[in-house]
Amino acid sequence: MEYSPLVLVVEDDPPIRRFIVAGLTSQGYRVVDVDCAKSALSHAASHVPDVIILDLGLPDRDGIEVIRELREWTRPPIIVVSARGQERTKVNALDAGADDYLTKPFGVAELLARVRVALRHLARMSNGNLETGEFRVGGLVVDLNSHTVTLDGTRVHLTPTEYRMVMVLVRNAGKVVTHQMLLSEVWGPGLTDETQYVRVFMANLRRKLEPDPARPRLLLTEVGVGYRLMDE
């Protein structure tokens, strides 16, 4: 029998927990669900989950703290769940070591897509990094050997900075990348308040990679948080 990944669901609201569990089990995932930070930490240690879905509004502890504590000893992808309008919290969670987020209310399709991305990353991390070969999504092909980018067969001319940004996005394909992450990976550490540059460079990059600004398909803006390069 094929290995089915284990997802740890940490959510204190029973109806939401129920629907997450139902959505995941119907897709063949094994699920462990808990309703507080304390059991989340103990189950993370005893069950060794492949993915953790963590609600940030837990009754017993601050979600960001839980992420920090988990990240001290374990690496499985963490997907945080939070309400809209809490962009600051999401960014803090991501910068504290979370991998992705879901905004309430979300549908089951969105939930499953995030889990798939998380599992793909897990697989990629254990297979060694993605610095060679090519990345394909939609009509976009990024050739990591020749450092070229083509869109629907046409070569896209990128500046060195834009190419470095594409590389960061490709390495994190499917996941959200915060402004801060892009800033430090592309321009190096030590810059903290210049995220405007990231925004302007990304806007220019999107003009090159998204032919129809009315319907962005590949490079999505997560307002107030960062960017996401789609991978499916």
């Binding site: 309008g85 190096g188 405007q196 540059y197 302007v200 806007a203 600004p213 009315a214 962005p216 307002v223």
Partner: protein, 519 residues
Amino acid sequence: MLSLGTTVEAGDLLSRLPRNVRRSAVLLLSLGAATGLALLFRHAGITESSIVLLYLLSVVIASVMTDRATGIGASLIAVVLFNFLFTEPRFTFVVSDPQYLVTFPVMLTVAVISSELTARIRRQAKEAEHRELLTNHLYESSRSLLGARGQEDVLRAAVGHLSGLTDRPVLCIVDDGPASLRFYGIDGFTHDERLVLPVREVLGQPDAGRAVLVNVGDTSFVLAPVVARGRTLAVIAVDTAADGLPQATSEPIRALAVQLALALDREEMSRREQNARIEVERERLRSDLLQSISHDLRSPLAAIVGSASTLVSEQTLSAVTRDDLACSIRDDARWLTGLVENLLSLTRAEERAVRFRGSVEVFDDVLAAALRRVERIHETHQVAVDVADEPVLVRMDCGLIEQLIINLLENVIQHTPAGTAVRLSIDRQGHDVVLVVEDDGPGLSEAALTHAFERFYTERLIPDSRRGMGLGLAICRSIAEAHSGTIAVSNGPGGGARFEVRLPVEPAVDPHGPRGEGF
């Protein structure tokens, strides 16, 4: 002309000397000159009465140039000199002629009285000058206190004038919440922890009448209460610099305290009035909202409850029906979610209007994100987007601007038939970014053009369209205004609706990035 110049110079020189030296110099010069002239008179055979007058003149000159005490001193010396030098037997203090027993006392009395009078005139002139200065100061301070807007400005102006008037370290202190005082000062002296307790005590008295003197460390402060209509609004603290506070200084403090009281009272009244207005407005909004909510939330909730309970209790439904019911639950819940988002935006926009920070975002990023949240517009409408060549930066609360764009798009969906073309464009015009959302639908009626941005104004143009609360566009306006922007609606040349949002842009960043493009 030359002699006048010399006199002025001599006067200047005199006034620059220390006080005692100056007095002696004046005495010496005036009496010396009188004596010299008198000796000449005597030689010329002019009578003694002229010499007496000459001495009296020198006494008057001395008292004009110095003070009362010196004037009296000059009077005595003049009499003694006259006796010694000019009365027989000369060069003795002995008097042979009994008529001098009348001359000396009269001469002395006249000298003393004239020096006394001169001193009094001088003093009065000085006081008048001081008064004029004070009046000018108070005129200036009342003008600037009247011109100041807001409690903080008023207190800053008051501190400035007080420090100019008294030439001492001063503070103005007001109550700032239950457990803290706010200090206003200038020139680096802006706080003194030792004053907290005594000031609190003065502020605590409902009608603190007189100023009190408190000793702190090696100096003492005068604490003058600022009282308006039986309430102590603030305290003025003046450092007495250990020498006490002369009358000349405490008077202007009292006068300024009165002006300050009036200004602070006026500020507080206008603040209260404004709060009351805001409160009334909020109250009205709240009751309008409640009314709308109770009316408009009931039907989707009823639909959800109905569909869900049907799914639970009826086991024999066809797959198609079950699907239908589930989809309607999902759609109603989504609609309710949108409504909640909008209500939250409204409160947030109102808060923002007071205190706006936000982050700097690329405008078309936010437009793209908003479009993604109204994906379904592509199913019914033809959407075209035209973004500016250069990314435009705007300081914003991105959640709110996203909501603004969503509401404009929802408005298009709600009020135009399927197949309508929608064009969105972002353009930079001077210091503004202009977002235009225009469609080739039926446009707005006269009434709708006037009332479109009013709360709870709704107009159903498309039969069977989704229900609306008439909040979407009102929220758009609140959001635009919270960003110091504007929103306007008109019917475009083709007859369709044309919404135009203007927001101030942020200066562009260096196109080469924080460390240059090719670092």
